[in-house]
Symmetry: C2
Subunit: 209 residues, 2 copies
Amino acid sequence: MARSAEQPAPEMRDRILSEATRLFATRGFESTTIQAVAEAVGIRAPSVIHHFPSKAALREQVVEDLMSHWKNEIPRLLTAARSGEDRLSSALEALVQFLMADPYRARLALRELLDRPGETRGLIEQHLLPWMPLVTDYIRLGQQTGVVREDVDPESYVVEVIIMAISTVALGEVLDTVQSRDDEDRLSAMIRELVRMARDSLFVGGEPA
Amino acid sequence: MARSAEQPAPEMRDRILSEATRLFATRGFESTTIQAVAEAVGIRAPSVIHHFPSKAALREQVVEDLMSHWKNEIPRLLTAARSGEDRLSSALEALVQFLMADPYRARLALRELLDRPGETRGLIEQHLLPWMPLVTDYIRLGQQTGVVREDVDPESYVVEVIIMAISTVALGEVLDTVQSRDDEDRLSAMIRELVRMARDSLFVGGEPA
DNA sequence: CCTACCGATCGGTAGG
DNA sequence: CCTACCGATCGGTAGG
């Protein structure tokens, strides 16, 4: 009779969050019923509601968990490489790695951007925007020293690269069959081309060898 | 008594399609009720079902209309400019113009890619893929003549550019407030940067001036 | 965490 | 194109 009484199964809440994340990312919030989440974790629908006051609250927590992941990773991404001019390329590759580590991250982000533009914009302004100057100042510095193209619009460039990375990873599953490849899967080729495009459209001159 | 009998209101069907497109694009298919579509055109829900056998059939027609638009526009996009090496840039600007002409096109495409990857992939293979070689062969020709970078992966490049264009236009509303601008709106700056990135990551050398 | 249950809303039908 | 209506499912509550 030590620890059997009424403790609410410590890991159950996390399991619900995990399955809800997966389902919201793949099917979308509206298409996912509480019952589907319950079934995925092996319980009944009302038990899900016991852990989260409402379906909306469940979504909120799922999104918040995603954002806190971002908040933790961003400093790591931005300091991913210190090898001078190649720093931005390495940061981008780290971003892609981060996105591909959990296949639901990119898809969930894209869905939230489409479904709740206002709320998501608020989250972006809160958590992502403060880091922007750190990157754009670095790009402007590169423009002054002549290694970065003069006609680059730093803010637009950064946002475009992030959009490209998120969209590519999120849609990778679909795009994977656009063309068959023998040597490797399509998504890897896309990611590699993405990194190349970001690099070659930023720095002046030809290949960095 | 000439034309009052039982003709099913010729323009009503198109009005339903138009409002359904707008609602599916902005809120998503699952979040859009037949009632909401009916209300938008000023009729009752059962009258919508009279024009389309089911909600799914309405979606099918909306998507088919979008695809037929694409099919008509693609030849025009690909022959948008004949001024030699700048041809691809002009084609891209034409693509962006096409996407921005109807704000719901990009958002609907992105939603369909997320919600129904299998079906959408089929539509892409049918309608878009046949045009791919026309672009990729042109890029490969440019690689042989030395105007296009050697390390460009033609197929990946084309898909990335299309993804970037669709995503940018679709998310433009959200991104518009990432940073305030005095001279022009954020989306225009994003589009211009997108075109620049596509150009500078494709061709060798500095600015074409 | 379960069973039993409910009001609301959904897509769709009947029948003019 | 409308009113009247229905079975199914949804999110959520009650009460253990």
